[in-house]
Symmetry: C2
Subunit: 450 residues, 2 copies
Amino acid sequence: MVKEAVELHKDKFIEQLKEYLSIPSISSLSKHKNDVREAAEWTANALKEAGMENVEVISTDGHPIVYGDWLHAEGKPTVLVYGHYDVQPEDPMDLWETPPFEPVIRDDKIFARGATDDKGQLFIHIKAVDLLMKEDGELPVNLKFVIEGEEEIASPNLAPFISENEEKLACDAVVISDTSFIEKGQPAICTSLRGALAMELIVTTANSDLHSGTYGGGVPNSIHALVQLLDSLHEENGRIAVDGFYNGVPEPTEALRKEVAEVPFEEERTKEDLGLETLFGEEGFTFQERVGIRPTLEINGITGGFQGEGLKTIVPKEASAKISCRLVGKQDPQRVFESIERHIHGFKPAGCKVQLQPYITANPVAIDSQNLFIQKAASAFEEVYHASPLFPKEGGSIPIVEVFGRVLKAPVVLMGFGLPTENLHAPNEHFHLENFTKGLETVCAYLKKL
Amino acid sequence: MVKEAVELHKDKFIEQLKEYLSIPSISSLSKHKNDVREAAEWTANALKEAGMENVEVISTDGHPIVYGDWLHAEGKPTVLVYGHYDVQPEDPMDLWETPPFEPVIRDDKIFARGATDDKGQLFIHIKAVDLLMKEDGELPVNLKFVIEGEEEIASPNLAPFISENEEKLACDAVVISDTSFIEKGQPAICTSLRGALAMELIVTTANSDLHSGTYGGGVPNSIHALVQLLDSLHEENGRIAVDGFYNGVPEPTEALRKEVAEVPFEEERTKEDLGLETLFGEEGFTFQERVGIRPTLEINGITGGFQGEGLKTIVPKEASAKISCRLVGKQDPQRVFESIERHIHGFKPAGCKVQLQPYITANPVAIDSQNLFIQKAASAFEEVYHASPLFPKEGGSIPIVEVFGRVLKAPVVLMGFGLPTENLHAPNEHFHLENFTKGLETVCAYLKKL
């Protein structure tokens, strides 16, 4: 019955989605501030039209948060749907086959910035409400929407908003569609996200660059000191050599290792695709474990001394590196930062000043795949796609997921409808319309099952 | 008698020098190509006016070489004077008190780009010829001038020119005034220059930057590999850890160590001036030895991965570093390069491609301070300045000095008239007029003594 309703309305829904995607709501560029607000208003209207109540566009220090609810399903669980209406910048512009904010459909895919991340996926939930309301005049569960406009800039205002509105946002589960299938036809419910910790290490040895003819060999060199410090962070076998770094990292159980091993991975193809001579990582773990359930410490950038063409024979006064860690289990970002800071000060070569500046942090997230809200989502996927979803452990971090889970004390259901090939954050981003329509069926089925 | 002649003509000479300095002959900037040629013509005219013969402006693949000779002092030695008429770029412009190519005199110093490096010092030799010719109608020695316009860009065309014109340039000694006193009133004849070898090390691990959430911990990281390689180049005590690097480095004799120790050095003042917490270098050697007579390996620049503000969580595909060595004794730049190459390949971490690209090389130079041409120069300095010159070992490199000495088989007399405080290569470059006039006396006295 839902299937027929989807068939009946999908053309109109897709036209509406095109309108949504044509708003260039790039949150990181201040010149698009009004476009971001326009997308917030558009989202709020779409919620109202679908039948949501108490719809608000809530101003913050940055871009607005859109809220709406429908709370008349007495005795039924309350589900909070989270999504974001902001998008990534479009550059590099010249690689787009069609303009990023002029949505077009080719091969049953809709091409536009934000198509899969996250307007297209979010719109599934809004239109599922619309369909259910059309069908029954009411919803099978209590529903709340929290839709932000700052996901692509690390949600600076949403985390405090959640903490300050614990009661308003109280729910039994948080549902987010902002992740991907394993591949076409193989749904996935992500049950683990690594935490994140980033920092910059700055080493200073003198008040100016010095001539290497006059001073070379007789004074400290900031780059020498930096490489010495950075090299001390790992053992040769890939293990991180920072005392206390692994505190809180659980030994993987056999069951977990088995679950991780189930996620498909082709070593030769990966090496060829990425141009790698070999894989490399912590001894004793598989590639999938290293990138999914083990913590990491990676240097993301390094700079110091002369950067131009050719050569300048200087002893550089300053050098710096950007470092980020992925965290798992009960690793605490603040404690990990402190252990790295202690390590750096302990290994500091003579004659240099070091400064370690923390940036973003996020706690790791682990979700029990046996939770009822996850199992019902799995069963909705099965019903529509005729395939059991896998439960992958994502190596990346979505900081807000941990905040939702922790503050609202509710399981987070990461039921994504994207595909890993849909160019998110890249030119020619798109979304498969098959997953838009099947997504509508899946969400309707899910809410009914609850 | 020379003293009187200097007094009589110095105002006119300084006016001419101002004209010379007003030509912006910046060899590194192609937009100044015509200015560089104008300076070459100006130099050639000045040589002719002074009384030199066979004056030529010789075209090369780059900027011209100016040649002139006077060979009528039968039975007397032949001296070749080398200098350069090209100058460094003027930037940073905003730190100049007066425009770099509008020479002015303040406090008995002439301020302009090229004042001390090297037009002012070179002009001493041209005007010494003028004075001697005015006085006697002839010169006390046979004289050749070779003046290039590419010293500031590493003399790419002069070295082959010398090799191809061995006979034309044959001489008993090469005299160069392009170095400095120890301090005001304390002349110096440099008797050692370190050699130089520069290179770039490039490490590649993948064909694109990879997302650290998806691949971090499971693939090689080019910056990790680079810092590991760079860190392996030194021992903790500052000694260079490359097998074979020290081949050809002489153990310093007690006499040499004494000579080096005589050059004044104030540790506390140096540390304060440069903002150093401590000095650092090869164990078992003093600061003066480390920067003067020991070889070095310094990282001059490093770059890789994300360079912008904030953070980008990537595993970088490529990282690189610029490295330069100062060489001494019988170290051969080519062999040292090969030993570093072997080291790099031997220590190469798994999964990375390394490339080591050589740049400039120069052999080290050691000049026997007991040579007659050096001793006569010392005695000329003494006569005019009433101070015995010191014989410092310079840490820097002037590649062409070694070529002159080796190809022409003649001692090189580095009798500089600059002061270490005269801002060469920096804003507000200047030259003390006292050393211009006393320089004239010294050079006249020197040529007569030969």
